[in-house]
Amino acid sequence: MKQKNYYTANTEKWKYTKINQFDSYSFDFKPTNSKVKIHCENNEIILQNGILNNIGSNLLDKQIIISNINDSNNHAQNIQNKLSINEDVKFNNKNINFYTGLFLYIPKNINENISIKNIVDQGHEKRFLNLNNYIYIDENSKCNITYDEEITCSSCIYNSYQLYVGNNSELEFTNINNRIDGSKAINNYDINMQTNSKMTYHAMDISGKLIKNNYNINLNKAGANCYFNGLNIASQKNYTDNYIEIHHNTNHTFSNINYNIIAQDKSQSIFFAKTIINENSSSCEAYQNNKNIILSEQALIQSNPQLEIYNDDVKCAHGSTTGQIDEEAVHYMRTRGINEILAKQLILHSFLADIINKISLKNLKTKLNNKIENYLKNVN
């Protein structure tokens, strides 16, 4: 089995987050399977501790394959052995045991909205629950997937996502990291995009004691378009580290990253993006834009937008801005009767809504806007 070697301290994606802090952790938490079915909406998939629990009625009978990852090998055979499921990944020389995770196969010519909820009610502070989620969108399909984790116990979670977007397919994927409970998460994403495929990814890193996201996005075939949008509200002593690597592996590929961060208290948030345009990849476009607002002297934001361009026929731009709230804008609003706290909240909400409003699902957009509005009530 091919061993992936990028989960060690020597790699760039672990430049800011000290990987050695996990030396005392193990990656072997094995949840027990509950037989009780949890209520499920029509387009919902419910996982409990990464184990498939229930499937919404709308998702049945459409040739969509939904199973536990460890039961997926038969299905993988059916879809022409296209899959190489992660079984032996190492994390800083520790074995990761993937006992759980979702296998989701969307066949050709399907148009579907799917909401995946992982309810975590078993866990351990020093033992990672490991999920290996594999989502495969076959040709000519259009899919909108939301992934949300609801955590009710103290835990740490290691998510390995593999997303495949087939020829002429579109995937809009929203991942909500709202770990108000203080759980920790390491998320590794391997994303492969094929001819004329489009992916719009929304990383909603609303809150979390420690969130480490590593994205590895491959634009493998001409016409692959990747829009990566993200936001992070870092507060208290929370820590978020995003490492986004996009590879333009061929001609006529497009990528655009927009990531907004608000950091307050003693929080830290890191944006590190690297877009690589290969020597043989002509007529590519790549953009990176990172905007940050820092609300306290103790908060820290690291911004590192990088472009590595090995071809002359490209259009690229990258930028980063970091500042405080515009006091002139706050004064202007106050002269209209809006109190100082509300004025700041309006400015901050707008800053984040800039990202949220890129989500196409109206209900989800409203839900996230409400969530953020509540969250910003604590900002002073």
Binding site: D326, E328, A329, H331, Y332, M333, R334, T335, R336, G337, I338, N339, E340, L342, L346, I347, S350, F351, A353, D354
Partner: protein
């Protein structure tokens, strides 16, 4: 409505306003003219409670109460409004949402219920049309990407929506073409009643002629050196300010 007595104020160690006295009754329209940098805008900023200005002496009484210690939002809620010379852009903050929040903040202070969204939208669109702006403005960020003239019109729309009792218009005529000037002046006139008071800060008679003020004051070096009626604005247009400097 407003009474300024012996007001001296400035920023850090610099004295800008020097012993200003001004009394504005209900329904009166006052114009303040003067050279660049004589403290006209500073007076407006001090009246609306901008931080960083230090009042060394004197009092500001609005509707019978001393307001010198009140915050900008408290003054706005009590009925004071300033149309800015350079309205700040707030990208991302939706104009309509901003204005509805402002209207509701003031209504809350007056113990009134929030305005129904449909009523607000209807009224807002009416005002946009009155000032010759497209409905699309409601979707744009506050002053974001607005031209100079659009910003000034949007200030007047805010005035009409917030319904203040005292309006300070800081060079609302600057940057407007002749047609826009007439539209803005009509907007201001439509708001005039026997209960509303105005202070217009300007350099030119061209807007004054549309507004028929009750009084015209000349401010030089932070002090009001001469007061009169509209004729004074006409005289300034032809003579300049030198004849007023002793």
């Amino acid at each position: 409505m407003l009474e300024i007595n012996n007001l001296s104020a400035g920023i850090e160690n610099k004295k800008i306003i020097n012993n200003v006295n001004l009394k504005i009754k209900k329904g009166e329209f006052h114009v303040i003219m003067g050279k660049n940098g004589t403290g006209k805008s500073t007076l407006g900023n001090i009246l609306t409670g901008k931080e960083n200005y230090i009042i060394n002496n004197g009092t500001i009484t609005f509707k019978g109460n001393d307001i010198t210690t009140l915050s900008p939002e408290e003054r706005a809620c009590k009925g004071m409004f300033m149309s800015f010379q350079y309205p700040v852009s707030i990208p991302g903050v939706n104009s309509m949402h901003f204005l509805r929040t402002a209207v509701n903040s003031i209504r809350k202070h007056q113990n009134k219920d929030e305005i129904a969204p449909a009523d607000f939208i209807k009224e807002f669109k009416n005002k946009l049309n009155l000032l010759g702006l497209d409905d699309d403005f409601s979707k744009r960020g506050v002053n974001d990407g607005f031209s100079g003239g659009e910003k000034k019109r949007f200030e007047i729309i805010q005035m009409l929506m917030l319904n203040p009792d005292l309006v300070i218009l800081d060079e609302t005529d600057s940057g407007l073409d002749i047609d826009a000037l007439k539209i803005v002046a009509d907007g201001i006139n439509s708001f005039r009643t026997k209960d509303k008071s105005f202070i217009l800060i300007t350099h030119y008679h061209r807007i004054v002629q549309y507004l028929s003020p009750d009084y015209v004051h000349v401010m030089l070096n932070g002090t009001i050196v001469k007061s009169g009626q509209e004729q004074l604005a006409i005289d300034l247009e032809t003579k300049g300010y030198d004849w007023l400097i002793k």
